[in-house]
Symmetry: C2
Subunit: 232 residues, 2 copies
DNA sequence: ATATACATTTCGTTA
DNA sequence: TAACGAAGTGTATAT
């Protein structure tokens, strides 16, 4: 990893064209060849960058300024991805051997929500019981297949944030499932759209299609499961 | 901007829990308080981070190790976002005054594609003429509303990459538009799905629904518009 | 390799 | 401010 702090100008041409006027920025050159251009603010996203695999060629302009040409080794759709960095004044330049990173361990995303709801289907609707998780269909698995108190089949789609495409997904499942004669005997399959947060447009679309919406309290569910399991 | 290279362990608790075992990494502390933890690889996304606004408190453990506690000042949904960084060995530590960045100038995204197609609708289908851009409907604007040589209305949905959700979106528009008596007089509204690249599954779905697919050559369109406008 | 869905998505624009 | 859609999205997973 090489870290350079320098006054620089950056031009990118590839899937789009972008330009950064001359200013002081931080440049990270990772060992896989990727380059990140960071300013002192914004979020974790660099102002500009080049994704690996790519290569950096150091040259000089006619005026003797240092120029880096970063080219992608995997140009998408024939577009030649190129990042040109013109260095005017270098304030800092250091290299560091970091070794390979052991990587990130995550916990708490959609899969966990699905596990918790599979254990407590009654929190979605009274009397709901689990038939199976990841119920397979031709177009992909339904998150939860359940049965309600009246014996009707219920397909549950789980999202962290419930948006319109989630409703579309569940709609496709329901369309397919309601062609299955094994499931359609007891009044067909109805749907429940479950999420920690459901956007208004998604709710409107869901309810318009007869799909029930359920807002899920992740922390409460986790409390039901194991009240001691916190990181610190 | 402070840059630290150090052997460190990172724990995050907030919307999820995440853990990074002890290893050498690059830590960027931006002047808005945000923190980025980068490894020597991957993409531009850090292994872990804290978005601004947030604050860093430096402390020490019982064993005398340096510890940074980064807390978000805008916790989302009541979740207390916290990042704890335990520093074992510092290889590099420097601070730099970058000033404010003039910012990025972009060109070439979906909006531009829409402008170009609005100027040259004939490239989508022979004899196609523009009625209006951003044609308003109850569920959002249709990218282009056109009329074909036979006088039939044509709704055009434009995407950079044509995927299944774009077809769904256009389908919803067509469903709604075909309820409008003003538009349905001349054989209803048909659809064109235009993109620089159309994924096979999206194409199958579109054609199954009677929606025409059009692959758009952005560079050629831009050439029609202004052949001299290239960056380098 | 391709397709699909998720993301501590982030980043705009608009109502 | 909230919501909605795009992103040079990236990333993991299953096909």
């Amino acid at each position: 990893m090489r870290i350079v702090v320098a006054r620089c100008q950056v031009d990118y041409a590839g899937r789009l064209s972008a330009h950064l006027p001359m200013a002081t920025r931080v440049l990270m050159l990772k060992s896989d060849g990727s380059v990140l251009v960071h300013s002192d603010g914004g979020s974790y996203k660099p102002l500009n960058w080049m994704s690996p695999p790519c290569s950096v060629r150091e040259g000089a302009t006619d005026e003797g300024q240092i120029e880096w040409i970063v080219t992608s080794k995997a140009p998408s759709k024939g577009q030649p991805d190129t990042l040109r960095i013109l260095l005017e004044e270098i304030h800092h330049d250091s290299s560091h051997d970091l070794g390979i990173d052991p990587g990130l361990q995550k916990d708490g995303v959609e899969k966990h929500l699905q596990e918790l709801l599979a254990e407590h289907p009654g929190t979605l609707a009274d009397g709901l019981t689990l038939v199976r998780r990841e119920y397979p269909t031709a177009i992909g698995p339904v998150d939860l297949m359940c049965r309600d108190a009246g014996g009707q089949s219920v397909a549950v789609e789980i999202k962290r944030r419930g948006e319109i495409d989630g409703v579309e997904q569940l709609t496709r499942y329901l369309e397919l499932l309601n062609r299955d004669p094994l499931l359609t005997t007891k009044g067909g399959v109805r749907g429940i759209f479950a999420a920690q947060e459901i956007k208004p447009q998604a709710r409107v679309l869901a309810e318009d299609r007869g799909i029930q919406c359920a807002v899920v309290d992740y922390n409460a569910l986790r409390g039901l499961d194991d009240p001691t399991d916190r990181l610190f």
